[in-house]
Structures are given as C-alpha cells and as structure tokens.
C-alpha cells in the first residue's frame, strides 16, 4: 500500500490555480523529492496532505487514510519552509512542547530530546532560547522537532536551507539513516545536487502540473547520446561521421554523437574500425538533475 497517494489533486486560491490535477504515489521507505520553481505548488501539496490547506478537488491519501486524519498526523513529521518556532522557548522546551502535542509520554520525551539534539548537532545549545540561534541552528532544531515523535513519514520543505556545507552533509546522513530504518521521506528542495544524491524518485512540478517523474537514474540519463573514446586519425572522418548521425561534437579524445538507434550506433562503430580508428571506450551520456530541471521548467525565474 502506498504511503502517499495523490489523485488528480486540484487547488485553487481565488484566481490562482496552484495545483492542476497532480497525481503522485510514494511507497514506503522511499525518498521522494519534488522539484519546482517558486510557486510551482510543492508546498501546497504537502500542506494538503497535512490538512493545513484543503484541496479544491481530487484525493489525497496519507498512510491509507484521507489527508488530515488525526491518526495519520500522529505518524507524520513536518518541517515547513520558513518555519518560525516561538522564540520564548529553548531548544529543549520547544522539542518537549511539540513532542507532547504529538502524544509522546514524559518519560520518552526526557530520553528522546537529548538524543535528537545530539543527532542534529545542537546539544550544547539545547538550553538556550531559540532567539539566540543562528538560521542554521533553527533549521537543525526544525529537523529535530519533525523527528522527535519517531514518525513513519517525514515531510521536509527545504531542510538544508541556511545550513553550512558540513551541516548539510550531516542532515543528508540523517535522512539516509532514516531511510535505512524504513521511514518515508517527502522532500521539497531547491538544492538539486543534494536531491540527486539521496532521492529514490523525483518529480518536477511546473505551474501546478507534474511535468516529469522517475528515478534519478531515469531522469538523468540522456537517451541516444554517447561519448566515444577513439584512437587513430578520426579527424578526417568527421564529415562522414556527421552524415551518419543526428549530431556530432568533437571532445577531448573522441566524439560525442547523437544517434537515432542502436543499429546506427553499431554501423558507426563498424565504419570507424574499418577506417583503422579503434574504439577504446563508450559511455552513454548522463545529465545532472539540474540540467534536466532547467530543461523541463526553463531558465526563467531560476529561484528554483
């Protein structure tokens, strides 16, 4: 049974069509990342799943129950973007407060709070007022409050926002550790390189519509473009190579070719070998997630 299931989800804010029929399924133990420019509808999806916002139409199922069901929320942790914790709390008292609201008993809270503070690396600042925290420390605390009640599903909206590179690595490690424990993680992030590192599947949202979805490997592979490492005098053969493929580009130690199919690729290899050019290596070219993202949503408004 999927942990998260969205079916034709629509949300209108007066004249703004935030979501236009989005369908997503996330299985247990997956890290699913949603990418999109600002205003694409990523946060709206999470808020609908947590009943912070109500859908105009469509269905949102969380842990087998309609979104917003109390029993589902008991097993969910949420770190919102631009979160603001009451600054009259200390890190410790804030975790105590949120854990109590999630139904964690006093004894459990006493043992889990120091554990969480240590996990996110702010154990020494736990007794200080939140108003004295840096942005990165608040972010770490946010992650701790999302995990304090040991939820089955985590919704994280920009979890590494404002965190230094070392901290980002720590947070990534925490997420990977949680995944290894079977937790499901739904991630909204602008940091595509990080998403690429930890996500199982990725969805790209554009103007309230899911433009593309798949595993990172599926998303980043560029079909029909190959890098051929060659030895021999192949410069003279370039005009003929260009005639046999859709596109060709000279690269160091070989060529990059865009071919229609495997048959044409094999024919090209045969031609090169027949002309005493040895094929010493061949790689199907991959794109970075950022390349894919920009390709999908365009370069306008690169806040995403």
């Amino acid at each position: 049974m999927p942990v998260i299931e969205l079916r034709s989800l629509v949300k209108h804010y007066r004249n703004v069509h935030a979501l236009q029929g989005v369908s997503i399924t996330v299985e247990k133990g997956e890290i699913y990342s949603l990418l999109g420019k600002n205003g694409a509808g990523k946060t709206t999806i999470v808020k609908i799943l947590l009943s912070i916002v109500r859908a105009t139409s469509g269905e949102a199922i969380l842990l087998g129950r309609p979104a917003g069901h109390v029993e589902s929320r008991r097993k969910v942790g949420y770190l919102p973007e631009d979160h603001r914790f009451p600054d009259y709390h200390t890190g410790w008292s804030a975790l105590d407060y949120y854990a109590a609201l999630s139904g964690v008993s006093g004894a459990e809270r006493r043992s889990r709070i120091p554990e969480m503070l240590r996990l996110v690396g702010i154990e020494e600042s736990g007794r200080r007022k939140i108003r004295t925290y840096s942005k990165g420390m608040k972010q770490r605390l946010g992650l701790a409050q999302a995990m304090i009640h040991e939820p089955d599903v985590l919704f994280l909206d920009e979890p590494t926002d404002g965190v230094d590179p070392v901290g980002r690595k720590q947070i990534r490690d925490v997420l990977v550790h949680l995944k290894s424990q079977g937790k499901t993680i739904f991630l909204n992030s602008h940091l595509l390189s990080e998403v690429e590192l930890i996500s199982d599947r990725v969805g790209i949202l554009e103007l309230g519509k899911l433009r593309r979805e798949g595993t990172v490997a599926e998303m980043t592979v560029e079909k029909d473009i190959y890098e051929l490492r060659l030895e021999g005098a192949f410069d003279a053969l370039m005009p003929e190579i260009a005639r046999r493929v859709r596109g060709v580009r000279r690269i160091a130690g070989g060529v990059e070719v865009d071919v229609e199919n495997a048959e044409k690729l094999n024919a090209l290899v045969d031609y090169l070998r027949a002309n005493r050019v040895a094929l010493v290596g061949m790689t199907r070219k991959r794109q970075s997630l950022e390349d894919v993202f920009i390709q999908e949503v365009g370069v306008a408004g690169q806040g995403a």
Binding site: Y13, K47, L50, S51, I52, V53, R54, V70, E71, R73, R74, V76, G77, Y78, P80, E81, D82, H83, R84, F85, P86, Y88, H89, S93, D96, Y97, Y98, A100, L101, S102, G103, S105, G106, Q145, F155
Partner: protein
C-alpha cells in the same frame, strides 16, 4: 497531556514578557501597601458617641442621586459605657440620652416615612402623627441595623418632656464592625487616621469594604483587566504566524482544541494574575484587620468572567486578523462601547435624566448590549458580593432595606456566557476552515 503542553507554552510565552514582571512587581507593591495598614482601638465612649451622633441623618437611597436630611437639633449623649455581658458578651452596654424631643420625634417620623416609602425627597414635609415609646425604640434599633449591628436591646428609662434616656446594649458581629471604634495606621505606622470622613465615622469593616470596592472595581477590574488583555493579546496571533501554525496543525490535535487551549491558557493567565492581586490583597487586608470579607475573594470570579468575555472577543479578532495590536484594541473598544451603550440606556430611561430615549432606541440599545461586554452588570455583581460578604448574616434583610440594586444573575450569566460561546464558536469555525 496535549492541553498541559499548550498551557505550559502559554505560561512560557507570558513569562517571556518583561512587562509581566513590571505588573507583578506593581501588584506585589500594592499588596505590601495593603499589608502596611494596621488598626488600633479608640476610646469606647468616644467611638459610640461618634456613632450615635450620626443618627440624626436620614438617607434616602431609592432616589437618584441619593439624598438625605439631617435633624441637627437633636442632642445625643452616651454615658456609662461598659463591656457587654451575657448575650451581649463582646459588645457594649451604655446609656443614651436624647434631648430636644420635638426634633427627635420629627426625625423619627421622617425616618419612618422613608422606610414606608412615603417620602422620596429630602424636601418632603415631615409626616404628621404620634411617636410612642415603641416608635422611638424601633427607630434606634433601625439606626443600629443600618450600621450592621443586628443584635440590640433597647429599653426606655428616664423620660421627661424634652429628654429620653435609653438603656442600650449592642453587639456587632465583631468590634471591627462598630463605627469609629478604631483608627488606621498606614505605611507601618508612619501616619495614622481615625476611620471616617468628615462627620461620617467608619468601622474597620466599612473601611475595608470601601478599599475592597476600589480594589475590585478599579485596580483589578479596570487596570488589571486592561493589563491582562494587553499581555494575552499576542498569544493567539503568535500561534497563527506563518511557519509556526504549520508545525502545530501538522500535529495530531484538532484545530478547535488548539484554539480553545490557547484561549484557556490566556484565561488561566488572567486568573493567576488576578488571583495574586485580589487573593494577596484579600489575605493581607483580612489578616491585618480581622475582617474576612469572602465577598471580595468571590469577586475574583466575576473579574475572571469579564476577562473571559473580553478575551473571547480578542480570540475572534486574532483568528480573523492574526494581529496582536487588533487583538488588544478590539476587546478594549468593545468594552468601552458596552459601557457607553449601557450608560446611555440607563441614563436615558431615568425620570430625572437630562435626555429621554424613545422606547425603540432603548430596546435597540438593550439588544446591542447583548453583543457587547456588560461591564456595569459585572460591577453590580462585584458590589453585591462584597457588600454581602462584608455584612455577614442577615444581609438579605439589610440589602432590601438599603435599596441596593438587584442582581439579575440569570441575565448576566446568560448574556456573558452566550457572548463567550458565540465569539469562540465563530472563531473556531473560521479557524477550522481557513487555509494556512
């Protein structure tokens, strides 16, 4: 557990306000000033003499404004004052000589006319009629009762054409309830003041009642509640801030519970701070005076009720606007408007008022007042509690004689309760349906 957590959060939020410490310090200073007041007994004969000398004034309290008339020609002389015995143990026995019999009988007839409702103004003529021994004794007993001296024995002794001598025994609930019997020392004895204003002698109980009325209606009832509204105004808007409310709404707790818990947190804050001020001052005033007016302590309930009404309006405002400033201004504005509406309605329907309201306007104002905090009703409840608590047993009879305003308990509780339920219901409805 969740409710406790929400309450703890409200407490932390409150304790984080520096202004709270200022108000607590002011409250503590206030309690200290109350604790600095002590009392010492005056000469018994002089005290009783001072008390009976005021018998020549007849108050007419059923008119607005209250008036009265003084029969200054009567001479009152107290002698042979001694401690009471038997049924009057703890009281006093003495002789009371009354001279200028004609004036005295005019006084008795006028007083009787007021009691019977035949006299409604101080310029009304003195009714005709005879005053016999029973009438004289009834008058004296009535005068002692006006001073909350419920147990009396009065026998007429020597009588002449222009003079009467009465053997009197009185016993108040305690010596502190006898007028003029004590003087007060302020600021730990820095200066002293015989209890009374001009010719009007006061008992310790009366002085306490005046102080407690001022404390309840003005210090706690106005300044305290205003502070409470200001301090708690940020509770709900802070919770509704973007980024803060998201984290809370994701928790397994209903929005209504969340809102009502925050409301309850503010209410408990009001109860605690009001309790410290009223309870603290009640305790030290009672310990120093020996007069334990439970009515003053009970008035804390009416203060909390009124604060609950204002805070429910603040909660609705907070949900609608998410603004702390609006959550301060709107309840205070509603308070002022409620006060104004009640004042206009009451004044405009009195016979001697400078303006008269048409019945339709009066009805409209009455209807409007149901949607506003009714400060005047709360004041009436406070007065009732404190006067009743101050007088002790037999109070119903006395309050009836004194013409105190009747308390419309059901209307007050119903209107306040309905307003709280309506505003919180609407706030909860809006909060539950709104996207954050």
């Amino acid at each position: 557990m969740k409710l406790v957590a929400l309450f703890k959060d409200s407490i932390l939020q409150t304790l984080d306000c520096k202004s709270l410490y200022v108000s607590v310090a002011l409250g503590a200073l206030f309690v200290l000033v109350c604790a600095s007041i002590s009392y010492s007994p005056m000469d018994e004969r002089e005290a009783i003499q001072g008390m009976v000398e005021q018998f020549d004034r007849v108050m007419i309290v059923r008119t607005r404004p209250p008036g009265g008339r003084t029969f200054e020609g009567v001479t009152w002389t107290v002698s042979d004052v001694r401690k009471g015995s038997g049924d009057f143990e703890g009281g006093y026995e003495f002789k009371l000589a009354v001279s200028n019999l004609r004036e005295f009988h005019d006084l008795v007839r006028f007083w009787r006319g007021v009691e019977q409702g035949k006299i409604t103004g101080s310029d009304d003529p003195v009714p005709e009629g005879e005053v016999d021994e029973a009438g004289e004794i009834k008058f004296l007993r009535g005068k002692f009762r006006e001073r909350v001296i419920m147990k009396t024995r009065i026998e007429r002794g020597e009588a002449s054409e222009d003079k009467r001598v009465f053997d009197v025994a009185i016993r108040a609930a305690s010596p502190e309830r006898l007028e003029g019997m004590y003087q007060a020392h302020f600021f730990f004895g820095a200066f002293s003041w015989p209890l009374g204003v001009a010719d009007q002698k006061l008992s310790v109980a009366q002085f306490m009642l005046v102080m407690q009325l001022v404390l309840s209606q003005y210090v706690a009832g106005m300044v305290g509640i205003l502070f409470g509204v200001i301090f708690t105004a940020s509770f709900i808007p802070t919770m509704l801030q973007k980024g803060c409310i998201d984290v809370l709404l994701a928790r397994p707790i209903s929005r209504t519970t969340l809102l009502l818990s925050k409301y309850a947190g503010g209410l408990i804050y009001g109860a605690i701070s009001g309790g410290v001020l009223v309870g603290g001052s009640w305790l030290v005033l009672s310990l120093r005076s020996g007069v334990w007016n439970w009515g003053y302590l009970a008035s804390l309930g009416t203060l909390i009720l009124f604060f609950a009404v204002l805070y429910s309006i603040g909660a609705l405002t907070a949900v609608m606007t998410r603004s702390t400033i609006a959550s301060m201004i709107v309840p205070v504005g509603a308070w002022g408007l409620g006060f104004g509406v009640t004042w206009v309605k009451q004044t405009g329907t009195q016979p001697l008022s400078p303006f008269q309201l048409p019945s339709s306007i009066s009805t409209a104002l009455e209807a409007l007042s149901w949607f506003l905090p009714r400060a005047s009703d709360i004041n009436v409840m406070n007065q009732w509690f404190m006067i009743c608590g101050s007088m002790g047993p037999g109070v119903e009879e006395i309050t009836s004689e004194m013409g105190l305003p009747e308390v419309a308990w059901i209307r007050i509780l119903l209107s306040s309760g309905a307003l709280i339920v309506a505003t919180l219901g609407l706030a909860s409805f809006v909060f539950s349906r709104r996207d954050y």
